[in-house]
Amino acid sequence: MSSGTGVHCVVVTPEKTELDTHCDSLILPLFDGELGILPGRSPMVGRLGFGLMKLKGAGKVEEWFVDGGFVQVTREAVYILTDRLLKPNQIDRATAEADLKKASEIRPATPEAFALRDRALAQARAKLRVGT
C-alpha cells in the first residue's frame, strides 16, 4: 500500500470485484478480533472472520458485512477476498437462523468435523448479530 494519504481498498468475491474505492482507514473483522488498517500499513496476509467491515472516509463510515475470507495488504492496495459482501440490511435472517439450527444439530466426531461445525456456527451467529 502506498504511503500516501488514503487506503486503496479492493473487495473481490468469487463472482466479481465488488468494491474498488479509496478511504482514509478501514476496520476489518479478523478471525480473532478487529484489525484497523491505516495508510502505510506493512504488508500482511490475514484470515478474516465473519462480521462488519467499516470503511472510514470523508467524515462517513460505510459498513459492510464480510463473510470470511482473507485480507492481503500490499504496497499498492488492501485486497479483501470474501465469499460475499453484503450491506447489513441485505442479510437474510431466516436463512441464517436455519443455518444456525442445522449447525447446532451436528454432532461432530473428529477434530476436522468440529472445525467445520464451529465455522458454520460462527458464520450464522455473525449474520444474526449484524443483520437488521
Partner: protein, 312 residues
Amino acid sequence: MANIRQLDKRRKSVRNIRKITRTMELIATARFKKAMDRAAAATDYTKRITQIVQDLAKSGTDVSHPLLQAHSEVKAVDMLVLTANRGLCGGYNGSVVRVAVQRRNEIKEQAEAGQTSVSGKRGISAFRFAGVPVEKTYSEFDDQPSFDAVARIADELITRYITGQVDRVDVAYTRFVSSSKQIPTVETLLPFAGIEVLSSNSASNSTPSISTPSNSSDKTSTEKKLRDDYEFLPSAAGILEEVVPASFRARLFKCFLDAAVSEQIARMVAMKSATENAGDLIKSLSRTFNRARQSKITQEIMEIIGGVEALG
C-alpha cells in the same frame, strides 16, 4: 390444387420456425456475452487466491490440508453432473451425459457407494431414462449461476470428504476452452489438486485455467521482488486452512460458469444452423410451389384453348 395449398402452408410454418430460431440465436448470443463477462469477472478472485498461495509457498509453509490428501482406499465416489435446464442446444446435454454415464460405469467397478447429483432438468430426465439412480437434483442453475448456491454444494462436498463419507468427487461438465471449442469432460475435484499445481510452478505465475494478460505477469514479478516479507495472521498454516476450501469453492464455481457459457455457445451454434436450414428449406419449397403454380396455370390455359377449339 391441394398440393399447392399444402406447399404454401408448409412454407409459412417453416418461416415461423425460422423466426423463432433466429430469435433464440439472438437471445443466446446476448446471454453468452453476459455469461462470458461474469466468467471474466470471476477470474479476479482466482488470481488473488493464486497470489496468496504463492506468498504462502514462498514463506516455506508445508502445504497440507485434509482436502489435498487422497484417501488410501477409494470406496465411495461422488459425482456431480452439470447439464442445462433447457434443450435446443445441439449435442450439449447429450455429450455431458454420455461422458458422465461412462465414468459412472467405470466408478461402479471400483467403488460401490457414492452419490450422483445432477444439475439441470435435461440431465435429470436423461439419467431417469437411463435408469441411473440420482440422489440429488438441482434445477436452479441457469445462465448466471450464483456463487451462494454453488458454495452450498461445495460446503456439503467438503464436509462429506473431510468426514470420510466420500473418498473422491468427480464433476462432469463442459469445459470452456475458447468460444469455438468446448470439451465435455469429467474432472476429479477432490482430492483437490489445484493448490499443488500452484505451489509447484509458482514461478510461472499462472495456471492453465486462468488467462493472465502478458503485461500484468511482468508487473507482478517486479512487484514480488518488493514484497517478500509478509506478516501472516494467525499463521501461514492457519491461512492455508482457509485458502484450500476457498479455492475449492472457486474451482467448483468456475465449473458452473464454464458450463453456463458453453451452454449458451452450444445453443447459439445450434440455432444458427437451424435458421440456415430453415432458409434452405424455404428456398426449395418456394421453388416447388412456383413450379406447381405455373404448371397449374399452363394446364388451365390448355383447357381454355381446348374449349375454344372444340367450340370453333
